[in-house]
């Protein structure tokens, strides 16, 4: 390679890097405009931090029992202490520490299920959409059939028979949820395949791996990302519900759903046992949903356009009107 071409390559790479930074900055600016999305992103970052550094942040071990301090109220009550800021449960375990550790389970299950189900679903969808014919018919039949299953009941039974644990919860939820990704990937592949630019790529002789990876997958990332985030929210709720029913995470492990279920027996004398983990679930899911709706907004140019129109119409109207009138009045 001659020095000049190396140079241009270097420059091209630099430009590419620069463009990427530009894109990130643009995303940041976009985020600043959308307050709800910003709050969502901040909340999720905080939650992830909380989950990762849980042992360091939590004031107590979540399983440490202190039977002398059973059902202690939060600090703002007369009997509350700073030692147990958010009170303790019926075994004297620290609610704050349990809530912090609970984030681990929720986020871990969410991430694992989304990766498993998403990976499997996307592969099946790509195969069905790109290979077509019998593969397509088979995969679609499979999806149709599984979608028509009473999924949650089957999940409950499988969990009951195999024995609930973190792993089984993840596997069962993934088995139950991969169909959405499959369907979406397939329909996207079909519509993109028929689009002129993919046809053009095929006409000029691109081989199918290139077509899939260079032309089809990039178009899928944005809808898939939004779907994955929405599914993440759904999975967090599902894990909580399973644990609440006693068929998810088992003690001594901690999970928000589990804590609500244990706290419900003491609901009338210690409201915080139910309220705090419940709020934790709600806030987590809400944060994820906020980010998802923000992402959907910025990945849809039409929606963005409308948003902007509403924003600007009021501000610029008067200025424009004045200048046009001036021009019209001029001889």
């Amino acid at each position: 390679m001659s020095p000049t071409s190396a140079d241009t390559l270097e420059k091209a790479l630099e430009k590419n890097r620069y463009e990427r930074v530009e894109k990130l900055l643009e995303l940041g600016r976009e985020l600043k405009r959308d307050k709800a999305g910003l709050i969502g992103v901040i909340l999720i970052t905080a939650l992830v931090m909380m989950a990762v550094f849980a042992p360091m942040i939590a004031p107590h071990d979540p399983t440490d029992q202190d039977l002398t301090a059973r059902l202690a109220p939060p600090v703002w009550y007369e009997k509350g202490t700073w030692n147990h800021m958010l009170g303790t449960d019926h075994l004297g375990r620290d609610v704050l520490s349990r809530t912090i550790h609970g984030a681990r389970v929720s986020l871990w299950v969410g991430a694992a299920v989304v990766l498993l189900a998403g990976g499997f679903g996307v592969v099946m969808g790509l195969m069905a959409g790109y290979l077509g014919g019998r593969t397509d018919a088979f995969v679609m039949r499979w999806i149709d059939t599984q979608v028509a299953f009473p999924g949650l009941l089957l999940a409950l039974i499988i969990l009951a028979v195999i024995g609930p644990s973190l792993t089984t919860v993840v596997v069962v939820l993934a088995l139950n949820g991969w169909m959405v990704y499959g369907r979406m990937t397939r329909s996207a592949v079909l519509s993109i395949r028929q689009s002129p630019y993919v046809e053009a790529a095929e006409v000029v002789g691109c081989r199918w791996p290139r077509v899939i990876f260079r032309h089809i997958l990039p178009n899928l990332t944005s809808p898939l990302l939004t779907l994955a985030i929405l599914e993440f929210a759904r999975i967090v709720l599902a894990e909580a519900a399973l644990s609440f029913l006693g068929l998810g995470i088992q003690p001594p492990a901690t999970s928000w759903g589990l804590d609500v279920s244990m706290g419900k027996n003491y609901m009338f004398m210690a409201w915080w046992l139910v309220t705090i983990p419940g709020c934790a679930i709600a806030v987590t899911v809400l944060a994820i949903n906020l980010v998802a709706s923000w992402l959907r907004l910025i990945s849809d140019p039409q929606e963005r356009e409308k948003q902007f129109a509403r924003h600007m119409a009021g501000a610029m109207r008067k200025k424009m009107q004045a200048s046009i009138e001036k021009e019209l009045k001029a001889p």
């Binding site: 409308k306 902007f308 129109a309 509403r310 600007m312 119409a313 424009m320 009138e325 019209l328 001889p331």
Partner: protein, 330 residues
Amino acid sequence: MNDNQNTPLLEVRNLVVNFYTRGGVVQASRGVSFQVGHGQTLGIVGESGSGKSVAVQAVMGLISNPGRIEGGDIFFMGQSLLDPAGRKFVRKVRGKDIAMIFQDPMTSLNPVFTIGTQITEVLRHHLGMNRDQARKRAMDLLGLVDINAPEKRLKQYPYEMSGGMRQRVMIAMALACEPRLIIADEPTTALDVTIQAQILELLADLQQRLAVSVILITHDLGVVAQLCHRVAVMYAGRIVEVGDADQVFASPVHPYTKGLIRATPRLDVVTERMVSIDGVPPDLISPPQGCAFSPRCDQAENACLRPQTLTPLGDDRHVSCWCAIKGDTR
């Protein structure tokens, strides 16, 4: 409301319409004025994006977010459509005295209602007909637009009909209340060539028989020459030339009109290649000062940068071009 022959049926004065987009404020209509007399056909021609559709949609009150009418006035039968009293008036005349035919018959009809429902609802709303009266009238209307077996057609859904047939239904719907003005916004653009001719013939025939005024929007000069009494040429959100159709075509004054006429392919003249106007239409977010056509005009001079208005030029002829006004029409 006065309704004598002296006031034009429709008058648009200095209409300003802006669209607020992320890219900036698109000035789709920058002071458009025109008139339509009783029983007259006005053709509005211009490239796509020149503001033709926006101008007539403003007449119908169909400009919606992100667009806004921000200046000028519209008078129908001497009554303003934009002042506070006009808003009530618009609701009364829209669909009854002014009817509109849209560009794409494929999407203009509601896919989940029968043709019959969609025609009769106009009659029942505006004329207060009952179900049977409306059905009879709808059948007559379908006959009027040359649709056979109207009884059967009334029960059909739009998807069961061809594009030409749907456009006929749209025309029947427009004629339902015997309007005084029909606005046809590129009524044939989405249709096959043979069907185009049929639809235009039908429109011309109906216009003569019913003595209705018509605004025909098109970018096909041939159509205008055939059907229209008057023609208005639009460019970049303004009317650049307006006048009697025959006169305008015989001796165009504005350089843009000349270019358009030259660019129209003719069957009787053998040409080596298609003639086109050099350059691209201006960006309506920041339109050029003065004459918007000047960047593409071979006669442009410094004077063209000054603000311009439509200037009378002989009887019923207006043009907005400094060179033309100076008499240098070559």
